[in-house]
Symmetry: C2
Subunit: 156 residues, 2 copies
């Protein structure tokens, strides 16, 4: 068994994405059909066994270009400041990103996915199977985002 | 703006849970109506503004009692070893836990939730709103977990 200590994270891989910086990522990037590659380090390849049986996976990654945060933030969706934790802003105390992506194919340690709205070079911290019985919430409400189909201004 | 450096994470709060250790957590803990409290540090309270408008939130936490991993794991659901990343085992290279919970109420920096299957004292790293348009995957498939309604043996 390999040991893990403390709150220090070591990435398990890296994202190869068509988006070179944040401004390139479309607002509804999770709906995009553009392909990203998840290059898992070869030492972890065995841990991917059977993952191709799932149609969707949860990717947790490091917003490695974000180095600070405000507790109240304005988003592109309206002009009202909201608490940071009621937004998906990448600028967070623990800058962890999370996207549910569609798993298109696996080739050894490389996962081909769509709907990943992270930029090229983003370090990956964890991959989990999306399990409908566990993760789906059919009755969830959208809070202040209700009815906000399109952003009102450009991404900050 | 407060600065964040490197891959070193500082918890934003702690979970107060009825489960004192892993063996206490029910298998379908995400379906439980038992209340847990998320105590966000007071310094972050402002960041919770408007979160009570959402019915569900995503909680990312540290499996602080897990200090190692195997790349192939047997789960309570069958006798076949699966790749770690196609399971939700807490023993992971980056021991990050993720649960979508129901937000019952907020009192200042304290969130009252149900469906949180983490043990008492678990450090919280991030809270995000569950946004149906972003996070829901109605057609997702369950992979090797398909049809496995009940675990075949006790939790490891």
């Amino acid at each position: 068994m390999k040991k893990v200590h403390g709150l220090e994270l070591k990435p398990i891989g890296v994202i190869r994405s068509p988006y070179k910086n944040r401004a390139d990522v479309p607002y509804q990037g999770h709906r995009s059909e553009r392909i990203s590659l998840i290059e898992v380090l070869e030492e972890f390849e065995e841990g991917l066994q059977d993952i191709e049986e799932f149609s969707h996976i949860i990717v947790i990654y490091w917003f490695h270009k974000c180095h600070g945060y405000h507790l109240l933030v304005k988003t592109p969706w309206d002009d009202i400041p909201h608490g940071l934790f009621s937004t998906r802003s990448p600028h967070r105390p623990c800058p962890l990103g999370l996207t549910v992506v569609k798993l298109v194919a696996r080739n050894k340690n490389i996962l081909k996915v769509t709907g990943l709205d992270a930029i090229d070079g983003t370090p990956i911290l964890d991959i989990k199977p999306y399990v409908p019985a566990v993760d789906r919430r059919p009755t969830a409400k959208s809070g202040w985002l209700k009815g906000k189909g399109k952003p009102e201004k450009k991404r900050c």
